[in-house]
Subunit: 203 residues, 2 copies
């Protein structure tokens, strides 16, 4: 789709194309969003540009848990109030955020960054599972809570991790029934997540 | 809604809040969009930041027609191939873009930036209507095409402009039936807009 008009045409078209790559925005809604910003260049467009630049510049993956961090390790890994004996394994940073909104979990995390997939050549190494096993041993972790999505891929990955952790002696639990079949954590309300956490069961 | 976790928490929350102000994105989809970008910091987030900054810095309102421009007057006003004798009046830059996508109009524009509204204290002055009348006289414009939305506000504004232009001697036309009742130009397909333009009628 061509913008078809206007000064700075190439730059505005490039901006629309970049916006259209965001989830939930297509070419049409990206164009509307850019137009919205063009009408609010000082109040919204410039601040958004600055906020994006700042985060793009400073955000890193936490080398310990895989959460988003600024500089070194993330705020959760650096927080002495977070229990070191419990690790919650999530597929994705979005799921970590969802767990934190629930507010019921006080331990640390391991962010897999995906699920096992032969098709996409995603193995245990890519998900940091050997690193998780080492960490469970080194940090004397007593419980690993698998908070993976209730999808086939999530549950396959959960079973692989449970087996990999067997020799560590840590108890491996998973979120209780309460996560709907086929449901994705990030779409659940905070109460459901808290309830599922409280009723977690041994795997 | 709190982000609840992660390094750079304040900066990421600020970014999510800014994204949530875009049309079509709520707090939840803004969070997903930011997460999407956090995973693609070099490939997408930094380029988007740069594109926004560049446009926010350079885009201006064309002093002649109200279109978006870089620096002085817009590309349409500066294009000698565009007929000077015809002006198409639109409510909004989005409508100008929609007209241009249709590709049937070869003249110039006047962007009102809204419609007459006693409630919102938007009068002829705010819409640049006196400036439009002057321009019609100074540029010897022979036809003014009113391409306003088929809403009550759009049609009220169209009639006001038609009266204001009466003494200029320019013929005032409007887009033909073909624009659905209550419809907004920006949502129409290009063919409908072209057909409505070709079948335009005197007001
Ligand atoms: Zn961390
Ligand atoms: Zn112009």
């Amino acid at each position: 789709m061509s913008l078809g008009a206007g000064g700075g045409r190439d730059e505005i078209e490039a901006l629309i194309a970049l916006m259209a790559r965001l989830p939930g925005l297509g070419p049409r809604s990206a164009r509307r969003a850019v137009l919205h910003l063009l009408r609010r260049r000082e109040g919204q467009m410039a601040p958004l540009a600055a906020a994006l630049a700042r985060v793009a510049e400073t955000a890193r993956d936490c080398p310990v848990c895989g959460n988003i961090a600024v500089g070194g390790t993330c705020e959760i890994c650096e927080n002495p109030a977070r229990a070191t004996g419990e690790i919650c394994v999530v597929e994705d940073v979005a799921d970590l955020w969802a767990m934190e909104r629930g507010g019921a979990f006080k331990g640390r995390y391991h962010v897999l960054g995906g699920t096992l997939s032969a098709l996409d050549a995603v193995g245990p190494e890519e998900l940091g599972i050997p690193r998780l096993v080492e960490r469970v041993q080194a940090e004397h972790v007593t419980e690993v809570i698998l908070a993976l999505n209730a999808t086939v891929e999530g549950q396959t990955t959960a079973h692989y991790i449970a087996e990999a952790l067997e020799r560590t002696g840590a108890s491996v639990t998973s979120l209780a029934q309460g996560v709907p079949i086929g449901g994705e954590l990030d779409y659940l309300d905070d109460g459901t997540i808290s309830a599922a956490l409280r009723a977690r069961r041994a795997l």
